[in-house]
């Protein structure tokens, strides 16, 4: 315990010093995202999929599209569910079993960024109103945890949805029937981009690495849509932000988001 704490304190000091110098341990500027690669279509058995590498973080995400029952009060819209998992091969501290509160938060923040941006026009995912709609399941698996899973999972989810080849169903007598040989593009209305920032002392860094993540005073995830508007927020961590910091984070999220968005949009080409 003592030893861990000393190492811990040492790491905090080193990370804080390098952040204060304006150049991070891995050489990045404070508002610089790690190397990002997006490979759509890696799971052909899924309707959509993507492998995303963000620095040392790796996520493989699949999208399954199936007929589903609508919720009672929204029979004119499809359904959307987004999950996340950190299987134990992703990190020595990851554990099998029911998801921790951190994993539940991860899944819900990624879900909210996509849902609240209205990325998918759910009104176009209806087979028969009030009876049968199209359900979109987006499952994120973190294969390697190198920090900032919020953005990595969000990018993988968005790219996987963009890459979707959607089957076509028509209503049969009792149940929806697949129309063989047809497919359509997903009804994309906007492309949300999540940008997670951390505060270390008075400095804000973008896309924290795993080492930095362990030293954050507080973090903030801001998701922006294609219009540059803000569509989801999640503050976390041990401490808070001043209102001025929150305003400056919004600026950063909008500009970084605009740089990342084309990288995700390229996933359309995998359809």
């Amino acid at each position: 315990m003592g030893t861990v704490s000393i190492l811990d304190g040492l790491r905090r000091k080193l990370v804080a010093d390098s952040v204060a110098s304006g150049r991070r341990a891995d050489g990045r500027a404070l508002d610089e995202v790690r190397e990002l690669t997006v490979e759509p279509g890696v799971i052909p058995k899924a309707e959509g999929s993507a492998r995303v590498r963000l620095g040392r973080t790796e996520v493989v995400t699949g999208v399954k599209v199936n007929p589903d029952r609508p919720f009672p009060d929204t029979g004119d819209r499809g359904t959307f569910i987004c999950t996340a998992e950190i299987p134990p091969l992703a990190h020595p501290d990851a554990e099998a079993g029911p998801p921790s509160e951190a994993v539940i938060e991860l899944a819900r923040v990624v879900d909210r960024g996509i849902r609240e941006s209205h990325m998918l026009d759910m009104s176009q995912l209806v087979i028969k109103r009030d009876v049968s709609v199209i359900g979109v399941f987006t499952d994120n698996a973190v294969i390697d945890n190198g920090g900032n899973l919020f953005d990595a999972c969000s990018y993988a989810s968005v790219a996987a949805i963009l890459s979707c080849k959607m089957p076509v169903w028509e209503m049969g007598e009792d149940a929806p029937r697949l129309v063989e040989g047809q497919s359509r593009d997903p009804p994309i209305a906007t492309v949300p981009v999540s940008v997670t920032m951390g505060r270390i002392g008075e400095h804000i860094i973008v896309d924290p690495s795993l080492e930095e993540w362990m030293c954050l005073d507080a973090r903030l995830t801001i998701t922006t849509n294609s219009e540059g508007n803000i569509c989801a927020l999640q503050k976390g961590g041990l401490d808070g932000f001043t209102p001025e910091q929150l305003n400056s984070c919004a600026e950063t999220a909008i500009s970084v988001g605009a740089r990342v968005r084309p990288r995700l949009e390229a996933a359309r080409q995998a359809r």
Binding site: F80, L220, L233, K235, P243
Partner: protein, 244 residues
């Protein structure tokens, strides 16, 4: 992807909302501290139609032991809804939503609680939602902070929470259930009122860059109204002759 397109008049020509409030006016808020016998501290809040009770235990031993920390105390928070608290009966097992809200409430309280004074122990905050309305996480957080203070846990600041939102293209304070269903954005905010730091911030819905700034300002103004009510509840409990 939510359901936000009804015909209800959410804001009339005089700037009056569907429940009669002005745009910068919160719902009725009533807080009472010290309502439970077994908890070390407790509070009951009515915030609009929210009815919520919070109880605090600790600092106390941690079970299982491996969760404890030799350098500092830990804070554990459970936000839980009673099955009858919502229109459709809720199953008793904690939902993913409740688990996430428990976590954001915990992280909103953490900077205010002087846990470093109680290494190896836990402070437990338990919140039961008896009736839920829009803004239940803010109301739960307000009650939890009062219960912590009621328990005598040393705090470096209060924590006060109130949502702001966007309704009929207007930024308003403390949106209610109807406004949340039909409105455009809901942003729960919590601050430490003395330091001014924001310790909880979430958003559902779309805001421009400028609306975002004004929404945060509006939420902070609401938090300050709540803060006065929290202080009054603690004073009534601990410094008035009429204390229970």
């Amino acid at each position: 992807m939510g359901g936000r397109d009804t015909d209800m008049v959410l804001l009339d020509a005089n700037g009056i909302r569907c429940d009669g409030r002005r745009i910068d006016e919160p719902r009725r808020i009533m807080i009472k501290a010290g309502v439970l016998h077994n908890a070390n501290g407790s509070a009951y809040i009515e915030f609009g139609d929210n009815k919520i009770v919070a109880g605090v235990f600790g600092p106390r031993d941690v079970h299982p032991k491996h969760q404890s920390n030799a350098e500092t105390g830990i804070l554990r928070v459970r936000y839980h809804m009673q099955p009858y608290s919502v229109t459709e009966r809720k199953r008793p097992a904690p939902s993913r939503r409740e688990i996430e809200i428990s976590k954001v409430i915990k992280e909103a309280l953490l900077p205010a609680v002087m846990l470093e004074r109680f290494p190896r122990t836990a402070v437990d905050v338990f919140v039961e939602i008896l009736q839920a309305d829009g803004g239940s996480r803010c109301a739960a957080l307000d009650a939890a902070a009062v219960a912590l203070a009621d328990a005598g846990i040393p705090m470096r600041d209060m924590v006060s929470a109130c949502a702001a939102g966007k309704v009929a293209d207007t930024i308003v304070l403390d949106i209610n259930n109807e406004e949340d269903q039909a409105g455009q954005a809901d942003m729960p905010v919590a601050i430490m009122p003395n330091s001014g730091k924001v310790t909880l911030l979430q958003l559902d819905g779309v805001l421009t860059r400028d609306e975002y700034r004004r929404c945060i300002e509006t939420g902070i103004a609401g938090c300050k109204i709540v803060y006065d009510i929290q202080k009054r509840a603690l004073a009534e409990r601990h410094f008035s002759g009429a204390g229970q």
